[in-house]
C-alpha cells in the first residue's frame, strides 16, 4: 500500500527523510534510504536543507523510485521563481513522483551561500494552489497544458509557532489551497501537541507529528534557544544530561513520545539528522 492509500485507509503512517549530499557521492545517502526500506511508508527528500547548496531533491526522488522506495518531493520557494517551480513539478510528474511537500523554505542567508538572491516569488500557500492549477490542466496564467500532472500535495505546520493561532490560520489556508496532509516541526511536549491537535481536528486533514531524536542535553538546549517553535521540556533535558548511554536514553525518550502521540495524530515523521541508523531501533522500541 502506498503512502496516500495508507493515510486514506486510516493506518498509522510513518515517514522519514534523507538529505542529499554536497557532491556526487550518493552511496551513503542510498544506504541510509535502504535502512528505511519496509519500515516507513514514504521518505522525504529535502530541498537544499538549511539553505546549503547540494544535490537536488528531484533527482534523488527519482533514484528512490527506481529502487522501489516511495519519495516525498520537498519543494521550497527559496531558489526558484514561478516558471522554474511549475517546470520542476511537471518534471516530477513525468518521473512518476506523486507526493509533494510544499514549503516556503529557509532564508538564503542562513546557509552556506549567504550572497544568493532569495527568490520567494511564490510562498507555500500559492505553491499549493499552483499544484492544483496544474492538475486542472493549465499553468498559472491559464494556458492549456498538453497533459496534466497528478500529485498528492502536503504541507508543514509548526504547532509551537508564535502565535500558534496565526499558524493555524495559515494551516487552514494551506488546506484551502490544496494541502491534503501535514508534517510538523519537531514535537517533544505531548500535552501541548494534544491541545494543538484538538484545535485543528475540525480540518479533518491527516497530521504526521515531527520526531527528532535528542542526541544530547546540549542539543535540546540549543534547539530551545534557537529553533523557532521547538520546545523540549526540562525533565527530558535532565534525563539526557544524566544518561549513561545517551543513544539508549534518546531512543527510550523518542519511543515513549511516539507511543503517547499515537492516539492523537495520523502518523509520525522522523527526521534523523545524522542518526539514520537509529531509526529502525526507534521504530522497534515504539513497537511500530
Amino acid at each position: 500500500m502506498g503512502f496516500q492509500e495508507s493515510l486514506a485507509a486510516g493506518k498509522f503512517v510513518i515517514t522519514s527523510e534523507i538529505g542529499p549530499p554536497k557532491g556526487t557521492h550518493i552511496q551513503e545517502m542510498l544506504a541510509d534510504a535502504e535502512l528505511l526500506r519496509g519500515r516507513v511508508d514514504a521518505i522525504n527528500v529535502t530541498d537544499l536543507q538549511s539553505s546549503v547548496m547540494r544535490l537536488g531533491s528531484l533527482a534523488v526522488c527519482h533514484l528512490l523510485r527506481e529502487k522501489g522506495l516511495e519519495p516525498i518531493f520537498q519543494v521550497t520557494c527559496r531558489d526558484r521563481n514561478r516558471l522554474a517551480l511549475q517546470a520542476d513539478l511537471l518534471s516530477a510528474s513525468i518521473l512518476g513522483i506523486k507526493n509533494v511537500l510544499a514549503l516556503t523554505g529557509d532564508y538564503a542567508s542562513l546557509g552556506d551561500h549567504p550572497q544568493a538572491k532569495p527568490v520567494f516569488d511564490l510562498d507555500s500557500v500559492s505553491l499549493l494552489k499552483v499544484i492544483k492549477t496544474l492538475e486542472g490542466g493549465t499553468d498559472m496564467v491559464g494556458n492549456a497544458l498538453q497533459g496534466a500532472p497528478k500529485f498528492y500535495p502536503g504541507a508543514v505546520v509548526n504547532p509551537g509557532g508564535n502565535p500558534v493561532e496565526a499558524q493555524i490560520i495559515k494551516m487552514e489556508k494551506k488546506i484551502k489551497a490544496g494541502a491534503t496532509f501535514f508534517q510538523t516541526q519537531a514535537v517533544y511536549d505531548a500535552g501541548a501537541f494534544e491541545t494543538f491537535m484538538k484545535k485543528v481536528a475540525p480540518f479533518k486533514v491527516p497530521v504526521l507529528a515531527g520526531i527528532i531524536l535528542l542526541k544530547s542535553a546540549g542539543m535540546a538546549r540549543f534547539m530551545n534557544k534557537n529553533v523557532a517553535g521547538v520546545f523540549v521540556p526540562e525533565p527530558l533535558i535532565q534525563k539526557m544530561a544524566k544518561a549513561e548511554d545517551r543513544v539508549k536514553t534518546s531512543i527510550e525518550i523518542g519511543a515513549e513520545l511516539i507511543r503517547s502521540l499515537k492516539g492523537m495524530c495520523q502518523g509520525v515523521h522522523i527526521m534523523p539528522i545524522g542518526w539514520e541508523s537509529k531509526v529502525p531501533t526507534l521504530l522497534d522500541a515504539a513497537k511500530l
Binding site: 509548526n158 508564535n162 489556508k173
Partner: protein
C-alpha cells in the same frame, strides 16, 4: 519623491465593503504632486464615495503624511470625525498609509498604488518602507507592508521562522512582520483578512512604466 497612482474606484469600493462611514486623508507632499492625494483629489474622492452611498465623516490633507508624529498631532484636531468613521482611506504612497495605520486604531485602506521609480528613494525617518510594488496590498495586512516588513516578502502569513521572542530568524533584531500584522489585525477585529488566500505578486508591475522612463523628468533625474 514617491510617485503614486490611484487605484480604480471599483477596487477602492471593494476594499471598503461592509463599511459605510469613511474618513479620508490626503498628503500635501508627493501625493499632491502625483495628482493623487492633494486637496482636489480628496474632495473628488469624497464626491465619488458619497455617490456610492458612503458617508464621509471628515477629511484632511496633511503635508508629509509619511511623518507619524505630524500625522498624530494633526489628527488630534479631527478626533471626533475619525472616531465616528468605520475606516480610513488614505490617498498616498505606501509609506503614508503605513504611517496612518501606525498611529490610529482604525483599519486603514490604501487608495493608491505606489509606482516603481527604479530605485530612487526619498528620505524618511520612520520605520515604514514602501517597495513601490505597483499594486498596494496594505488593505489586506492592517497597514503594515509584508513586502518590506517580512524578510521573505510573504503574502500569506508567517513562515515557521518566527522566534520565541517574536523576531525574524533571519535577523534577531528585526520584528517578525507577520507577527506585527497578526497583532494589528487582531486588535482591529479583522483576522478575516488573514484567512484569505492572496495571489502571488505581479512582478511586471515592479518595472518602472515605459511612459515614465520616457519622460523628460525621468531623463533629467538620470542625468541625461
Amino acid at each position: 519623491m514617491l510617485l503614486s497612482q490611484q487605484k480604480s474606484l471599483e477596487e477602492i469600493l471593494r476594499s471598503l465593503e461592509g463599511e459605510t462611514k469613511i474618513f479620508i486623508l490626503g498628503c500635501g507632499g508627493c501625493a499632491e504632486s502625483s495628482g493623487t492625494g492633494g486637496k482636489a483629489q480628496v474632495l473628488e474622492m469624497k464626491g465619488k464615495l458619497e455617490g456610492a452611498g458612503k458617508k464621509i465623516t471628515g477629511h484632511t490633507v496633511i503635508d508629509f503624511l509619511c511623518q507619524k508624529a505630524l500625522v498624530q498631532s494633526r489628527l488630534r484636531g479631527k478626533v471626533k470625525e475619525v472616531k465616528e468613521a468605520d475606516s480610513l482611506l488614505v490617498l498616498t504612497c505606501g509609506v503614508g498609509v503605513q504611517a496612518v495605520a501606525a498611529v490610529s486604531d482604525k483599519i486603514t485602506h490604501p487608495a493608491c498604488n505606489t509606482v516603481p521609480l527604479g530605485g530612487m528613494r526619498g528620505e524618511w525617518k520612520g520605520t515604514e518602507r514602501c517597495q513601490e510594488c505597483g499594486e498596494c496590498v496594505l488593505d489586506s495586512t492592517g497597514g503594515i507592508c509584508p513586502l518590506t516588513a517580512c524578510s521573505k516578502y510573504l503574502l500569506n502569513g508567517a513562515c515557521g521562522g518566527t522566534t520565541k521572542e517574536g523576531k525574524c530568524e533571519v535577523d534577531p533584531e528585526m520584528e517578525c512582520g507577520w507577527k506585527l500584522i497578526y497583532e494589528r489585525l487582531e486588535k482591529l477585529g479583522r483576522l478575516d483578512k488573514l484567512r484569505q488566500v492572496y495571489e502571488p505578486k505581479d512582478h511586471s508591475k515592479m518595472i518602472p512604466p515605459k511612459g515614465l522612463r520616457l519622460s523628460d523628468r525621468w531623463a533629467l533625474e538620470q542625468g541625461k
